[in-house]
Structure formats: C-alpha cells, structure tokens
Amino acid sequence: MTSVDKKQDSIFSKKLMWPALRGTFSKLNPVTLWRNPVMFFVEIGGIITALNFVYNIITGKGDPAWFTGAVSMLLWLTVMFATFAESLAEGRGKARAESLRKSRTEIIAKKVKQPDPSGPATEINANDLRKGDLVLVGANELIPGDGDVVFGAALVDESAITGESAPVVRESGGDRSAVTGGTRVTATENIIVQITADPGETFIDKMVSLVEGAKRRKTPNEIALNILLIALTIIFLLVVFNLNSLSSYSVKAAGQGTVVSLVVLIALFVCLAPTTIAALLPAIGIAGMDRLFSRNVMALSGRAIEAAGDVNTLLLDKTGTITLGNREAVEFIAIGGHSGEEVVDAALMSSFTDETPEGRSIIVLAKQMGSRLQELPDHAAPVPFRAETRISGVDLEDHSYRKGAPDSIVRYIEQRGGSVPAELEQKVTEIARAGSTPLAVTRDNEVLGVINLKDIIKGGIQERFAQLRKMGIKTVMITGDNPLTAAAIAAEANVDDFLAEAKPEDKLKLIRDYQADGYMVAMTGDGTNDAPALAQADVAVAMNTGTQPARDAANIIDLDSNPTKLLDIVEIGKQILMTRGNLTTFSIANDIAKYFAIIPAALTSVYPQLQTLNLMHLANPHSAILSAVIFNALVIPFLIPLALKGTRYRPMPAQKLLVYNLFIYGLGGVIAPFIGIKLIDMLVTFSI
C-alpha cells in the first residue's frame, strides 16, 4: 500500500503537467466555462476574432489578417492559461486522491456478534458492513471500516491517511478509540471494532471526493468577489460599446481616420476585464485546500478555511495544546500525620482501574517508589470517574480508596461524616499556585495525602500566542483544572483568558457567549464530550485520534492530531483571502497602463494629437495593441505560482498589512505593465 505523497510537488512537476494540459482543453467547453463569466467572455472574444480572421483572409478587408490572427490566438491563449491554472491546482488534489483510493482495496471483514474476540466470526465483504456492526481485526490486518475500538488495544499504522509512518495506539475507552478504515493494525491481541460509517460515507470516501474537488462549491466570499468581477466585466463591455459610438462620431466630426475595428474593441475589452484574477480565482481556492492538506489538515469545506481566516477567538484545550500531552504524577505528599507509604499505597490502589494517562503515571510513580502492591485484590469494585462526582477509586472488602479533585474529595469526606485536616487546603494551594494539579487521596473517610500532577508547557507556545495577539486573535485556555492552577498556567503560557473547571456545557456556553458578542470562535477538540461545543464553534478542528462524534461535529480534521495546527489553519485561511484581494487589486491596477497603450493606438488615425497619451512610446498601433494583449495573457502563467502558494502572510496589524500590500500589488500593479508592455513592444517590433 502506498502512502500519500506528503511533499509539495514542485509546482510545474512533470507528473502533474500532463493531466493539467488535458484539463486545459476539456475546460474550454463553454458550458462549463460559463461558471467563470469573465473567461467565458474572453472565449467568446476568441471565437469572434477567429471568425474575423477568416473574413480578413477571404475578403482582404479590415485589419491585416496577421494582426487579427495574432489577437485571436492570444485571446485563446489567455483562456487556456486560465483553464490550465485551474487544472493544475485540481491535479495536485487528484494525485493525492489517487493514492488514497489505492488504500480502499477489497477487504474481507470478520464480523462478530459480541464484543468478545474468542466468539465465532463470519467473513463478509467490507463493503457490506453497516453502522453498528462489530468486526474482529487481528495483527497485520487492514481495518475494514471507520469505527471505534470497543475491546482491546492495538498499534495502528495510519500512514495511508496521515503519511506518518510511526504507528499510533488505539484502544477501547477514552478518547483514542477511533480507527479509520484502510489503516493497518501492526501489533495486537485481537481488537473488536464497532463500525460507525456506512460504505460511501467513510472518511476516506469523503477525503477522495474533497481533494478531487468534486464537491467544491464557491464560498460566499468567492461569490461576492465574483459579483465585483462580473460588474467590472459588464462595465468594460459597455465601455467598448461606447467607444465604438465615440469613434464613429469622432471620425465624422474630424473628417479623417477610421472607426475602431471590432478586433481592437475586443482586444481592449479583454485587456480591461479583470482576466488575471478571474483566471486564477478557482486555482487559489483549490490550492488553499491542498496547502492545508499538505500540512495534514483536511478541511471539510472551503467555507471552513475562510472562516478560519476570520477567527478572532481561539479556544484551546490546555492539555495537548498548551501543555505537553498529559500531566504526570511527580510527588506524593502525606498529610495529617499519615506516612508516605500509606499515601503511595492508597494512590496506587485508587488508580489500578484508572485508564487515564494521569492514572497510569500515578501507578508508575508509585511502583518506582517501591510500593509492594502488584495488583488489585479480588472482589474489588472499581468506582469509575464521573463528571458529576469528579472522583474515582475502588471499594475493597475492608477499605474504600478514592482520589479526585480536592474540592470534590472534601465534599465526599463531609458527606461520609469525616473531617478534613486544615493541612490539605494549604498543600493544595501550594501545588495549584505552582501551576500543577493536586489530587487528594482518601482511605475510607480520612484524607491521607495529595498527589502532585505536573503540567509541562510546550516550548515556543508563548511566542505563537504573542503572534496571534498581533493578528488580533484572542486566546482562551480551557481546562478542567481549578482556577488557581489554571491562572498559573495561563500566565506562564501567555494566553489572554482562561476558563477553569470547565465542564462540556461550560464550553458550549462560552462559545455561545462569544458568538453572541459577534466573535468568530475556533476550537479544537477530540473527546465525545467536546462534540456539542465543536458543533457550535465557527471553526471546529477535530483531532484524527478523536472519537467519531467529535469528528462528525467538526468541519476541519487534523490528521496529525496536533492542536497547535489551528494556527496554521488560520494563516492559510487568511492567505487565501489575501491572495484573492491582492490579485484583484493588481488586475485592476494594470488597466491604467493598458488604456495608455490601446487608446492612443486605436484613435490616433482620427486625432493624431492623442499620440501625446502614448506615454510608453510604443512603436505603432498594431504593436501597441498586441503588446497589451500579450502582457495580459502572459501575466497569468507568471502569477500561477503565486496563486498556488498564496501571498505571504506576516502577522501585523491590519492597517500596516494593507499599506504593505497596496504598495506591492497596487502600486506595483500600476507600474509593472508600463514596463512589461514597453519591453514586449520592443520585442514585437524587433521581430516583425
């Protein structure tokens, strides 16, 4: 099985070239080209000038045939550059889709009735699996469909979709249960997977159709820009109609010269119409998706990426985003005169059935500290963690052990009529102030001590938040920690705000509150309990390791499951909009020079005085018009790399960024064609 090619192919690589060239011609079909009205009109211009060329040859009247022919050819070239740009962008997506499709080879699934690996299995085709079916997967087998691991744990090679060769752990329970069809189990006892997607709706199916661009619809912003472009096109159509009247009147009034010919009118129209941006607009959107994908992010709609560019509030889960993965137990502190050993044993006892990473780190630390307990005694009744009680532990025949957040433990002890030593409060506060998380440990109705769970802030995260602040984006850390701990970590990580002791419904409420104030909110999540908040957020990024409900609620999926990706997504969203805006400005700014090339050339026979406007001193009317049309056509392929890569985004306040871009694309757009057209004119006159 091949893995997806992660590296950005160089833009004009051979592999992508041929399909792109084929697409260039198939997209010339006016029925489909109609979706891009500006280019559609250029094509009509191409057809009319071609007919005119034939007419010139047959009758010998009108413009010289070579001139009409050259204009016609250039117009066709302009359209083809546009269709080529779009095909090239699509081709990159298709190449990825192709390698994905290869992973969907026929798989035989072992369907079972019960989530029990020793039960009987029937073999069926993976395509016949339906939601809710249970399948058994053994070592070195492909997982037949998207689903959740409901029994066992396995190492899974997900390189088919992420390109990452290191296998990842997938296990039942918790937030790492989701598996994707087409990925391979490398080492395991047998696992049982419950299928969560019907055939045709699986993750890979969705990815293929997305990267192929089949489902791509214009985003609202693209439509709005298109309105502007269409309006300009209509204006310029009328300008050339008007010019026709103006020149026919002027010829009569001046008693000399010739009326501007249809070919020259069409040439002027094509030069003025915003062909540059119209040609590159589809490619910009497709390439944006592709750029995201090359960073292992799947946007489920173009809208989601653009919304990402607008986001001004980021809700970030502390764990995994701001701090390194999971907290680790680093210390056991005895209180109330209990011995250190008692605390260690109680901590261990209460953690045996705790499958969370924190729980495991407690077991590890306790064993390192020499606890003699090896496993849970018989007849132990585990008490699982519940969001309401926020404590967990185990009931043995003689004792019951609990651990949990200190305030929950205090409530628990008081309910049972025990007393809480004052020392607890003091130790807890100490640990929390330092940004760590305290867990209290109890035996029956006595508090024995406190476990210190330490958070480690990711390197470089402070700088990223500072960058975001410059972009006008507010960061909010969300954590289940108590407010003291949260404040300490928030201060250290340099976030703008935090939400402590967050329950799922708190997240949802926070998002709604921000949205009611008009903020665009982005969040990342992976757990099932994140799903409602993800569904509410404007931009919802789910980790690929996340549960199925979380992935369903999201509109962007991060295959690497790296929450800081959100920052990349925001940047790419902005880049797409900026590229559109910059090329629009450039395209329109170009018109000034084109006017100065074509108007004197077209009208000089009527009023020789208009040569004054020939600022570029272009050699003669024909060379002037051809040079403008050539420049107009060539600027498209010249800008394809920019459209595919996106204009550079640097975090700086809006005002500065605008001035910077106006300087480069606005002023540059005014000046560049003056130089370009002059150079082309020199070449054209030299070669004729």
Binding site: N221, A224, L225, I227, L228, I234, I235, L238, V239, N242, N244, S245, L246, S248, Y249, S250, K252, A253, A254, L272, E306, G309, N312, K470, M471, G472, I473, K474, Y519, M520, G573, K574, Q575, L577, M578, G581, N582, T584, T585, I588, I592, Y595, I599, L603, V606, Y607, Q609, L610, T612, L613, Y649, P653, A654, Q655, L657, L658, V659, N661, L662, G666
Partner: protein
Amino acid sequence: MQNFEIYDLIEIAALLAVLLLLVKPLGSYMARVYQGEKNLLSPVLRPLERLVYRFAGIDEQKESGWKQYAFAFLLFNGLGIVFLFLVLVFQGVLPLNPQGLPGFPLTLAFNTAVSFITNTNWQNYAGESTASYFTQTVPLTLSHFVSAAAGMAVVIALIRGIARRTAEQIGNFWVDLTRGVLYILLPIALIAGIFLVSQGVIQNFSGYQQARLVQAQNRNGAVTTQVLPMGPVASFESIKLLGTNGGGFFNANSAHPYENPSPLTNFVEIALFLMIPLALTHTFGRMVGNTRQGWAILTAMLIILVVSLGAMYWSERAGNPLIHRQGIAGPNMEGKEVRFGIGGSTLFSAGTTATSDGAVNSMLDSYTPLGGGVNMFLMLLGEVVPGGVGSGLYTMLGFVIIAVFVAGLMIGRTPEYLGKKIEVREMWMSVIIVLTSGISVLIFSGMALLLPAGTGAILNPGPHGLSEVLYAYASASNNNGSAFAGISANTSFYNLTLGFAMLLGRFLPAVAALAMSGSLAAKKYVPPSLGTLPTNNLTFIGWLIVVVLIVGALTFLPALGLGPIVEHLIMIGRK
C-alpha cells in the same frame, strides 16, 4: 500674469471655513431630527408635525422593513411624477398664469416631471417663457422640497441599517420625509429666502415688465424696449440650492441678476447647496456612534472636490491660447459674469457639479476644455464629492463598501464595515449603487452618438459636440441637472432618453441602498480587534479616494479622451 487672484483664494478659504464650521452643528441637528429627539425647533414644529401625521393617517411609532420602506419611496415618487406631469400638461387652464403660457408638450412634460421628482432638475425649457407662476411656485417648488427630503430619507434609512443590530425595521419613510421637509429644508430655505430678498432677489407675482433701453439697439429695426420677466424667485431660489435641485427660475439660472445679484449672494448660494451634503457625513457619524467615521468620509470628499476645483480654476485662469494669440490676454471670461470672476464662477461650478445641484452661474459650454472636463468628471464620479442631498452619501457608502471589501481581502479577512460583515448581498447592492449611473451614461451616450436623432441635435462640431452629448447624459444619469448647453435637447429623443437616464440613475441605486440597509440591519455586530481594518484613518481615506477615482477613470477614460482631452490638445496646438 499671476496664476491666481488673492481674493479668489480668500473666497475659497472662507467658504470652506464656513462649511466646515457648519458640519458639526447642522449634522448633529439632523441626527436629532431623524432620531426623533428633542431639538432646537421642536417647540415650534412638533405640533405641526403631529398635525401632518394625524391629517395623513401616519403612525409615527410604526417602522417598517426595507421592502415596505422602498415601496413607500417608490409610490410617493411615482405619484409625484404623475401629478407633476398632469400639472405641466394642463398648465394653460391653471391659475397664476399672467403670461397665458400654454401646457407643456407631452415628451417635455414627461422629461420635466421626471427631472424634478428625481432631484435632477434638468430643464429642456426656459422657465420664463414656458412655465407659469403656478407651475413654478406650487408643483415645482414642492418637488424641490420633497425630492430632496426623499433622498435624505433613503440615506437615513441606510445609516440606520448600518447602526442597528439584528433588526428588521429600518424606519418609517413617511416620518423621515416629513421630518426632512419640516425641520431641515423649510427653516433653512425660509431664512435663506429672506436673506436673498434682502440682497435684491425678486419675489412677486406681477406680469413681465417693459423697460426702456438706455441705448437703442438695431436688430432689423430699432429696438428700444426690453421685457423683464418677473416672479416669485427668492422662494424658488433658496430651496433650489439647498435641496441640490438646481432647476432655475429663469433660463440663465443663477447667472441671472434676479436669481443671484451679487458676489455675496453667490457665496451664500454656494454654501447653501454644499451644506447639507457635507453635514450629512456628520449625521452619519453620530447615528452610527462613531463621528470619526463621518469625518473620514468628509475628508475624502473634500480632497477630491478641492483638487478638482484647483484644476478647473487653473485651467480657466490660464485662458485660451487661441484667443491670447489674437492679442486678447487674460483668463477665460467667456460665458462668465464679471461680478463673479473666475473664482466665484469656478467655485460655483465645481460645487454645483460635485453636489448634483446643477444650478449654474456661468456658461459651462464656454469653459476651457479641461475646465469643462473637470465639471463632467465630477459628475461621472457618481456624484459623491459630496453629491446630492442624501443620494451623495448613500452612493459614497456604496464606494466605501467596495473599498472595504477589496481592502478586507487584502488583509485576509472577510471584509467588515462598522462591525457588519460585507457579504454577497452587500456586494450586489453596492455594485448597483455605484455603477448604475455609469452604465446609464455609457449606454445612452453610446446610442445618441450612433443615431441621427442624437447627433442631429449637436450644435458644435468636433470633440466639443461629443462633450455636449456626454455631459447631457452624465448630468441626467447622475441626477445633476446642469447643462453644458450647445445641444438642442428639447426633442422627443432627448426628452425620453434623458428621462429614462434620470429614472434609472435615481431609483435603482436608491432601492439598492434600501435593500442593503435591510440586509445590514439584520446582521450581528462584530466587535473590532487588531485584525479589523480601521476605516477612519488616512490610509483608508486615501484608499477610498483611489477607488472612487479608479472606477470613474476606468469607465470614462475613452470618452473623456475623445471629448475634453483631445479638445484641449487641439487647443494648445498639438499636431
């Protein structure tokens, strides 16, 4: 020769100072009026306002959505056109007609009715020889008031749309109309009218007077007497200027000594047509709760206006080299009143074409090619610097939306203006608001220059004739109303096409502005952050100016090239 007259500079500076001083008090006053707050004149006018509502059966508390607002606006204007048309056609049998003038011909009546209701006031007739006193004082003066108030109502509704959050209602058209007339136009027009009378503008209903000439003229026999048209001029004059209407009582318009007798009245008349359009920017700032936004738009408008005025002044001062060569030195005074000079004339002209007022105090046809070209360009920009009462600001806001949209993309955000996201609907509407007049000019002038019915009316040959046609449609499509003259426009072809241009240029953008108001009102408010593009600083002002100029230039460069520019090149002797 010095290329400026110090008195002219003083006059221009004084006018700007007066206008700028008026912006804040007048703008805030208008904001209070339209928001229904207590104001300076409410003790006097509030009872009258209530009376109007009771009489007309209007519930002033009841606001409506944009569709109803637009319906009321269109209904009111439609009925106005029908009413005015009928009065003009039947003027012969109506009272106050001492000269016994007959009814208007049908196409002229259509043209005139549309012209006055759309706040264009293009006149294909000479007032003193065609319109009776009744026609001038009742329906035409009335239309001066209500067409101005209707334009103001539209922009106020648009401002409400921007200011309101997740709302459906954008106001009550009838209330806005009433308040505009009652609190704003009537009081100022009254004061201005009294002032004009004090300065010698006439106000009477007598028949035309015979005057004995001091020096007999010989025109196919001795001419010893002259007819002096009379009439209630002052009441017509003040609102014609204040409401940026511009239709003259007399054919000579504000060049006529009975309309505009002295440099002082000239100064006041210019201030009258500029004050409301400029002050509305402050009303806008007040109503959206951010006065700096209003000042930003005002600055952009003034910069274009002042630079244009400078260009026109320079061109008229420089004069015509062909005339200089004949030994007659000096600026181009042809068609200008000596009592106004170059300063008073160009200031009036720049103001009148920039505000869509369209009154004139000098003959635009006789300006130098570039001077006339600047007048034309100010209209072709879409009447936004500052444009007509109401219409100027809503058109400018259309430009603002487009400028914000492109700039927003360039900084990587879905564009927003004053906390409202600019999306598909806003783009449609602002494109319609901004480009309709340009499209109308291109189509109709293109037709007129192709068809014999159009070219037959042109009196001057060469590029100047082209300018005359272009000017006529620029004036009509932008609801300005000033004429270049030099064209016999009272033909069925021109009456009808100019009429349609006026209808198109008035109602399509106005309805689009109301639709945009409805769509903006319904939106949530997005609070600004560091990533939001500020729209009240110099960068944005500069960008807005560039957008306005680029749209105008790209649309009309060929036309201006073959009209004023080539005429200029010929005049200065380029070969």
